[in-house]
Symmetry: C2
């Protein structure tokens, strides 16, 4: 048997969902977990270790044919050390940087001639960007963390001194909505996109997605996918990447990159011939990419956020009876308020119904409604 | 957390494929395996034990909320002992019997007024069934094993003395083709069927399936599903069951029952909203059943049978490039000639193309063709 062994650094829900197509394809997946109770560690082979510790990571990589990531927190120095040790690491450190450092990402988008918001690096002094503006920590932010609005210079100065590090400042756009384009690219340069996804946010957290983004014109849809393909090529992506894009009238502006399977691509498990998780594996193993065609006109996904209820099983009785087409995904995580603990997907042709069903399901599981 | 724990007796590919929806639903699945290298043991929690040993099985069941099966080999005495011990076992021993004992099955079909072939029990003497006839061992046969053709009385007598046990004799039908209807039923009596599947056999082994069975008239399709529902109700089924049916002109004749997920239902992983594996879990946990609607007009599945080639990974390079829509399922089993080691599924609307692609893929993986 010559099936390869893939090591994933991180053992959250993304690694957990990667384990399914790995098993189907016969690929051995092993996760570097913080503990045996991690989401992925519950269901696949794992090694306990510290992703920030270079020895742990190199030890972990020794038996693997390829190493990949499910989060951006692993230090560049560790990825570089891994590469120097001879490990095959995808995405490469040079590419992954653009997912870890927002200033490097902005520079690269400018270099590629792609649409950035107005931006500047701020480390004290006066802002070139008019107020109100968006201030972001350069690394480490996600799900709305590390992203702030500064209404005036005083607020910016206070923020800067509380963060105690340089900030990326961006113009605050009045965008119509935000989309995400998932793209995959393999070492030999094959690339593919899925249809752009509308991401619905609340307090900086994605609560639901609709694919394809329903109000996006065919022209903008093509342009958004072109942008994702240009970035993939331009940064030498290997694996899947989410490109988050603001839609402002007929204009597209790049918001963020994530070089890994992403919440905005979860719909693809049921909604596309090839899921983002399978595609990521195909890409990092340099296998031909799978079809990204949808299997239904629409796919709607809702994140289950932790609420008052801790019993996530009992809601099945009502929800499965009410709608036999809902697809549930539990992450096996302890319920904490606001934490993403699962998601629900429905596919079909009636978008209004699909949205209602998904909104109802996540509200019911989370405990916001009782019936 | 109140997620239940399901114990599966057996750790082959059926338990392996059951693990996927179990993880998605947050259900803890544990398999009773013969060894750590069993197909399911490679990817889910398992206990090593002997399914024919009542102590092993009762020990195994102790921590489980419900026990189910992935094969018919577990002795009735063990299932009964398990039930007496207080374990919740689905399907129940009384139902499972019809999957284990072909004479009891024939009697039950007669009792339910359902279409049997002419049959009789034979333990020497003269056959009531005209020659050539089908002779079957009463228990333990599958994939063509335990099924024989006797052309004349002498052959029957020789067979009887070599088997050294009573035989079930059945008329040898000139059937047009064989279909399988997958049906699910839960303890509170909810039941559902998937569209009937054409099963293509070679030497008694299913090589491929097409769903829905393309030449089956709408009337016969409804009748076949009615038969499956009547059997499910009549035997008190809990879980999923395959009802294999011969189509003879406008007549349906029941061939076999299998009270578990079945090869003829593998297409449902990609082809239906709810797969047979998820439905089995829902049924045995008395959760509302999922939608059995198809997500494409046709689903074609081909079994990968072990051949000359032992490298099952390398074929991906050619096959994935040739057809980006193929869905591969590896069972992690050692390659042995004729053994089912995986399957490939494709869904879509062009049945001719789908069949060609699946036939090509399984021939290429198995080594029968080189390009």
């Amino acid at each position: 048997m010559t099936f390869p062994r893939v090591g994933v650094i991180g053992a959250g829900q993304l690694a957990r969902m990667m384990a399914v197509p790995a098993n189907d394809l016969g690929i051995h997946l092993v996760a570097l977990a913080a503990s045996a109770t991690d989401s992925a560690a519950q269901i696949c082979e794992f090694v306990v270790g510290d992703y920030a510790n270079v020895e742990d990571v190199i030890d972990f990589a020794r038996d693997c044919d390829v190493i990949t990531f499910e989060h951006e927190l692993i230090p560049q120095s560790v990825i570089k050390a891994l590469e120097i040790s001879g490990a095959r690491v995808y995405p490469k450190s040079d590419s992954f940087l653009f997912s870890q450092n927002k200033v490097e990402m902005r520079k690269k988008m400018d270099e590629l001639g792609l649409p950035n918001p107005k931006w500047c690096l701020f480390d004290g002094g006066t802002s070139e960007i008019p107020f109100p503006l968006i201030a972001k920590t350069i690394s480490g932010g996600y799900d709305g963390r590390g992203v702030f609005v500064a209404d005036d210079p005083e607020e910016l100065v206070n923020l800067h001194s509380s963060v105690n590090a340089p900030l990326l400042l961006e113009e605050k756009l009045s965008f119509d909505y935000e989309i995400s384009v998932m793209v995959a690219r393999s070492p030999h340069g094959q690339a593919s996109t899925w249809p752009p996804t509308l991401t619905v946010q609340s307090d900086g957290i994605c609560t639901s997605t609709i694919t394809p983004a329903p109000e996006l014109s065919p022209d903008l849809s093509v342009r958004a996918q072109e942008i994702a393909l240009v970035i993939a090529q331009g940064i030498g992506l290997v694996g899947v990447m989410a490109v988050e894009i603001f839609v402002v009238g007929e204009t597209l502006v790049i918001n963020e990159l994530a070089l890994r399977p992403h919440n905005s691509g979860h719909w693809s498990i049921e909604g596309a011939v090839t899921s983002q998780f399978e595609q990521h594996l195909r890409a990092i193993l340099d296998l031909p990419l799978g079809s990204t065609a949808m299997v239904a006109p629409f796919a709607v996904m809702g994140n289950v956020l932790g609420g008052e209820k801790s019993d996530l099983y009992r809601p099945y009785l009502h929800l499965m009876a009410r709608n036999p087409s809902l697809k549930f995904h539990q992450y096996g995580k302890e319920v904490r308020p606001g934490r993403k603990i699962g998601h629900v997907t429905a596919i079909g042709s009636n978008l209004v119904e699909l949205r209602e069903e998904i909104d109802h399901a996540v509200d019911y599981i989370g405990g916001a409604i009782d019936e």
